[in-house]
């Protein structure tokens, strides 16, 4: 993904106004409270009139008051909206599961519209029997359920040179975390019978980009899934309906959507998405290839630039998400003073392998400016580095795999900004 910036330059004031507008309805204490709040003392329509009937919405949607909770895009990031990206509104979510309709999208040839009856999955190459499966065939294999994060390799990629986008939706929102249901890839490969020489797998999509990636056979046989459900329902078209590859802990590009073919070979293919793209250029002009794992990472989702503190001083909840492609996240540290003092945050909810974790840190805000950071530790002992630590190894042109610690500066009014600190 290009990291240049061009195009419209909205004013900061307008953006912040937009961010705060959501709280306009909150009633402030004090005035006329002697008589009581009207929402209590006066009969409200919903207390008296009937609500919507059960057949009003056969497939439900969020309340109209949640209209602002949506995927957003950044036009200047890509040449057009077909091969492009949008962002999950992390600052509006809690827990660890991303609702299907909010899970970020990344397409290279748009979201294919596939009739499941016409979809086929082929296995060919170095196998005993080259096979074709229908969706009905796939439904007859033993299934598994797993919650995994899918993070785009380019998540936070625009931030390598410094703070650029003002909101965790934009800096960290190329990620979703859902429960996938599907068939272990191993079972499909065993059905075809992988030959001894078969060391690599090429996964290919049915969309017009015909996305391909080379995957080592050890990973394919370990925990990859050919998934047809997310969060209990069929995959959304934009997430690969009717079937996608799940490659736990590894960069999102490899999770081939609209999966139509798996070829077994003896060497990697070095296709466009693993040479031109998804290779990481270092300062010395050389580039890493096959940087598959997504390292431990975290971000504070609230407060954040799109979610300022609106309640003034006093009890304040800091919350965020953490994840690692190498295991679980047993610990997250949080600082409110830019890293002079760190506190162990509280992880709430399931701690699953290669899944998002939700953390909280509650404190009493005295109304003074804050410099917020979170630091994830994963089950291998790895500790999330600062951006400067990463730049020492990589320079600023590697585009992908930016898992550096994020800083939000919060001012006296509770407004948060994306910054870097010394």
């Amino acid at each position: 993904m290009p990291v240049l910036f061009k195009g419209k330059k909205p004013s900061r004031r307008a953006f912040l106004k937009g961010a705060v507008a959501g709280g306009a309805g909150a009633l402030t204490g004090g005035t006329a409270l002697a008589a009581g709040e009207k929402v209590i003392t006066e009969l409200q329509p919903w207390m008296s009139e009937s609500g919507a009937p059960v057949d009003a919405m056969p497939y439900g949607k969020p309340s109209a008051y949640e209209d602002h909770v949506k995927r957003r895009t950044v036009e200047w990031l890509t040449a057009d909206p077909i091969s492009s990206i949008n962002f999950t509104p992390l600052h509006e979510l809690d827990g660890i599961i991303t609702p299907n309709g909010l899970a970020f999208e990344r397409h290279h040839g748009g979201a294919a519209d596939i009739e499941p009856g016409k979809h086929r999955l082929m296995i060919n190459g170095l196998v005993e029997t080259e096979l074709v499966f229908t969706m009905d065939d796939l439904m007859r294999f033993p299934r598994e359920n797993h919650v995994y994060f899918l993070e785009c390799a380019a998540n936070s990629g625009m931030e390598w040179r410094g703070s650029q986008l003002n909101g965790c939706q934009f800096t960290h929102g190329m990620i979703h975390n859902v429960m996938y249901t599907g068939v272990p890839l191993r079972l499909l490969l065993e059905e075809a019978g992988v030959k001894t020489a078969g060391k690599w797998l090429l996964a290919e999509g049915a969309d017009s980009a015909a996305m391909t990636r080379s995957i080592p056979m050890e990973k394919a046989m370990d925990d990859c899934i050919v998934a047809f459900k997310m969060n209990g329902e069929a995959l959304r078209p934009e997430q690969g309906y009717p079937v996608r590859l799940v490659v736990p802990g590894w960069e999102g590009n490899m999770w081939v959507k609209w999966l139509r073919r798996l070829e077994v070979g003896d060497k990697p293919w070095h296709h466009r998405e693993e040479t031109s793209k998804y290779t990481d250029l270092l300062a010395n002009g050389k580039a890493r290839r096959f940087t598959w794992e997504m390292d431990a990472k975290s971000v504070i989702t609230n407060p954040s630039p799109q979610a300022p503190i609106k309640h003034g001083k006093g009890p304040t909840v800091i919350t965020g998400v953490a994840w690692s492609g190498r295991g679980t996240v047993p610990r997250v540290d949080v600082t409110v003073d830019g890293g002079i003092t760190w506190h162990k945050a509280r992880i709430s909810g399931p701690s699953l392998d290669k899944s998002m974790h939700r953390f909280y840190y509650e404190f009493d805000w005295d109304g003074k400016p804050l410099l917020l950071q979170s630091r994830a530790h994963d089950s291998t002992g790895y500790v999330q580095p600062t951006k400067d630590q990463l730049r020492k190894f990589r320079g600023v042109n590697s585009i992908y795999h930016n898992n550096g610690i994020q800083t939000w500066a919060v001012d006296e009014e509770g407004i948060a900004e994306n910054v870097e600190i010394s």
Binding site: F5, G7, S11, G18, W46, E49, G51, S63, A64, D67, H68, R72, V74, T78, A79, D80, G109, M122, I123, N124, E130, L131, V132, D137, R140, F141, Q164, L165, N166, L187, E191, A192, G193, S208, A209, A210, R261, W269, H270, H271, R272, T275, S276, L281, G285, A287, R288, W292, P305, G338, I340, T341, W342, R375, T380, V383, P385, N418, V419, I421
Partner: protein, 213 residues
């Protein structure tokens, strides 16, 4: 071995024609290349007709569309220009990607000879081959790109993972802190337009009215 795992007997054998229709991938060693040939001159004409609207007549790129040529010796620059000539390791990837995904919006509409010709033209635009060059399945392996040797296997395990796996400081970690970079100064974050905000408020009111009905 894996081959001895119990099978469920699901799926059916793929036919030779089916495999031929879908197995279009090409590797650096030439595996998967179809028979065919195309020269720079024919490639130029095809490129102008099918590709130049986005990529420019010489692969220099139009607007935000990818630049396909140039950028030689720029990989250590502050702003590297990564093209086929300056960055890509293998010619096979050029053939494979054009064949599977280009032109954008009309993928898999080119014949093998056309893909060979366009690939030859792009090699010429990147100063890899001369004007009279013809690329074919026979001489494909002879063409090398300059950056092939500058890629190496992920080495995070050797350096980064070890350096970052240490117990970090928790108290009195620094004497002072200062802000060094600010996103609000760069100011490129999309904003919600006044129109869409109003639209969303109107919808909320309309929905509320609907609930009353």
């Amino acid at each position: 071995t894996e081959a001895q795992a119990e099978k469920l007997g699901l799926g059916r054998p793929a036919t030779a024609d089916e495999v031929k229709a879908w197995d279009i991938d090409v590797r650096p060693d030439g595996l998967g290349l179809p028979e065919g040939r195309g020269n720079v001159e024919d490639g130029e004409e095809l490129f102008i007709d099918n590709c130049a609207a986005c990529h420019g007549d010489f692969g220099e790129g139009v607007d935000r569309w990818p630049v396909l040529s140039g950028g030689h010796d720029s990989l250590e620059d502050d702003r590297p220009v990564k093209t086929i000539g300056s960055y890509w390791p293998y010619v096979s990837t050029v053939y494979d990607y054009i064949n599977r995904a280009m032109p954008f919006g009309a993928a898999q509409t080119l014949e093998p000879d056309q893909v060979y010709a366009i690939t030859a033209y792009l090699l010429n635009m990147n100063d890899v081959v001369d004007d009279d060059f013809e690329l074919s399945h026979e001489n494909f392996a002879d063409v090398k790109l300059e950056n092939e040797d500058n890629f190496f296997m992920d080495d995070r395990a050797d350096g980064e993972l070890k350096e970052f796996a240490t117990e970090p400081c928790m108290t009195n970690c620094k004497d002072s802190v200062a802000i060094t970079k600010r996103a609000a100064i760069i100011d490129v974050t999309p904003e919600e337009t006044a129109a869409s905000e109003a639209d969303s408020e109107a919808k909320a009111e309309a929905a509320a009215e609907e609930m009353k009905a």
